[in-house]
Symmetry: C2
Subunit: 476 residues, 2 copies
Amino acid sequence: MINAKIIAVDVKDIRFPTSLNRDGSDAMHTDPDYSCVYVTIKTNTGHEGYGLTFTLGRGTEIVMQACKSLATIVKFRKLEWIYEDFAKFWRRLTSDSQLRWIGPEKGVIHLATAAIINALWDLWARIEGKPVWKLLSDMTPKQLISVIDFRYIVITFTLTINSVYIFLYSRDIVDEHSARIILEEKMKLRQEQEKKLLKNGYPAYTTQVGWLGYNDQQLEDLCKKFLDLGYTAFKIKVGNNLQDDIRRCEVIRKAIGYGNKLMLDANQVWDVNEAIEWMQKLAKFNPIWIEEPTSPDDVSGHAEILNKLKPYGIGVATGEMCANRVMFKQFLRYHAISYCQVDSARIGGINEILAVYLMAYITKRKHNVRWKFVFTAPVCPHAGGIGLCEMIQHLQMWDYICLSQTNENRLIEFVDQQHEHFENPVQIKNACYMPPTSPGYSTKLKKTSILEYAYPEGNYWKNKITKEKETEERHD
Amino acid sequence: MINAKIIAVDVKDIRFPTSLNRDGSDAMHTDPDYSCVYVTIKTNTGHEGYGLTFTLGRGTEIVMQACKSLATIVKFRKLEWIYEDFAKFWRRLTSDSQLRWIGPEKGVIHLATAAIINALWDLWARIEGKPVWKLLSDMTPKQLISVIDFRYIVITFTLTINSVYIFLYSRDIVDEHSARIILEEKMKLRQEQEKKLLKNGYPAYTTQVGWLGYNDQQLEDLCKKFLDLGYTAFKIKVGNNLQDDIRRCEVIRKAIGYGNKLMLDANQVWDVNEAIEWMQKLAKFNPIWIEEPTSPDDVSGHAEILNKLKPYGIGVATGEMCANRVMFKQFLRYHAISYCQVDSARIGGINEILAVYLMAYITKRKHNVRWKFVFTAPVCPHAGGIGLCEMIQHLQMWDYICLSQTNENRLIEFVDQQHEHFENPVQIKNACYMPPTSPGYSTKLKKTSILEYAYPEGNYWKNKITKEKETEERHD
């Protein structure tokens, strides 16, 4: 690591007025203004790192305050001190003896942690001159393990036959040792996987076709558009009204046929029984999963829904609001998810996301295999929002090269919004994410976008506020 | 409800320099400055309500920002609109379509919700001229039920024999209907319970004897002091060093004997296996519970610890950092707690706390009893901090009058700190909390305390900052 020191941490509130077109609307979030807190870490050598966390408009000011508070822990640190024991630094940031009370490791303070940690990874990758996926894929298993804080992610193994759970044995399944053994086993295929990735990219699915605020015609037109682009997997929002959902499912199945994949997303609107009954009525449309059927904290509820929908061939997906690695452990431990939808800005950045990938994978492929009925949840990460596609592609590509080494049952979500504001936006070819080539985590926003959409001082918001005041005065 | 409107929501950051004496110190929070965000709700009729949420110093500025953001939802509302369907208003506050992304219902935004909701209850009780415990105890079951948002707290019932879990059946166990039936059954004993409460108060235990920063002599002296005051239950902090803990347990058992109750509190420092092994070594000191043995999100970890410590007669207690009613549902559902330590300022105020009391109780006493092996977790609420004792006493007294109607296996935590800053501090007699007599939620701070400890503009902090600058300048 170069001999450098952090001299400033700039924090900005950036908001895009997406609610105007109801882009991003779902049953729970009817009018999101896709926003982010944008962090720039500056060093005395001129190197800079850019990180962000995604928000929906109101509340961004709270996360911004949290980033400013955490920045005091980061400022004036030597890079050496941070990166040489990154797990230790991560714990320093997430376990401050006073700040941890207002989390711990969840909600506002953890979103802020993500923005800062993501900026530190961007900085590291820029210094090394590599995109993050390549930086990670060039690390030895020992180096990878060294960035993860393993506190609290001991997993108890269980056997499940139908709905009877039996404790078989318990051990640290995601300890440093077993994780390292798995990663070392996978070393020999890394090069081959990287070649395949560079050639084919990583398959995506689209959520762009069916925001809840879109009408049937929009839905149909967008299906055609994305079919033409080569997509074979489509997700729509449901949960507002059953009759509407049935009609919308008919429209989409007519447009995409039954050969393509359909996923449904309820964004937490249901209680457990409601979710089961509603989905039984949509089962005939063969969705492969129902996403966020109920509260993101309701592990037992998800387990019950999963159990009841299994006979219909419908899986349960969740994770975009899963608070941290400890909560993911609950979902895995209690067999409550079929697909693990980790998000790049909800939990504490890459260090913690790697822990989730390891848990979701290692619970399947234990080193010393003795039990058949072991649960698995392939990672199909959440994306969209602001910069979530840009970031998570790096992690899923690392998984393809270094960990699961497969894309079977795995897809990255793709939402075609707000990419134009990034200096290095995602590149999609034949419905696949192509590996980024520029150094960093693809998180740097264009200067023009910041000038326009910084809140409330950017040009767009300044004009809007001025106009609103003028209208108000005319009405007085 | 009177015809009044909210005209202002004032929010203040108040910090007490408790870290100077290591009061409140534990294995995870080594230097807390007990603090709060203090909310004053003002109406056009001159009525005011005071509410707060507890913090540890740094980070209070973030929660203050969250209170200011939520205040926009409260301001200019008619009181009628809020109190006539309080559950609806509660959901409006916790489910704002943009703000909920940065929770939902957890961490910073939920602490802020607590401060505002608590202020609204204080306002209501002041208007009615009653302390909150009496306001609640005079409500009909229908009125009580009407303030609770039942979303997401469906409970699946299970049978447990040793470590084998079997799904027996599932139903809405905490729905409006069953909750109301239980509360109505209890109506006939209310008057009698209230009389007993007014005469005897509600039993407390003390945490004041064994903060981790106190030495053995302090521990011994404080045990004597609290024994003389009539206490029969004592809690000390553990988890930093096993040899220290063994020595401290010897000191306290020598001081209080084996006839009194001892509780231990690890404040989340351990991993699961560590917790089990450490507690096996402290089992000879007969603690009735180990509190917060590991991450507050690790339901499966708590279940395993509970299971392994059962043969030693040690229970598992947690709740002060349990994020919301949905998380409490997990702990109850998966048999992961022996004692439910709900906190008055962590989850979304009285409306949500009532839901937790109902869940913890009704999971025990189902209306139509058919199964023997049903789990129960008596509520022994978390208190201390700033104003937590002042608030939670009201709820536990309501439980004594209207719900469980017993104090068997139940105690309220008592910490003898920062009460002098309140206009109506807790009254302890013979180691029992005596029912408050002044209208409200006992949450109003003295003006002098606000002038002194408001941060950073209060006199104490202004002087401290001035002195630090002078010292710095002398050293330059």
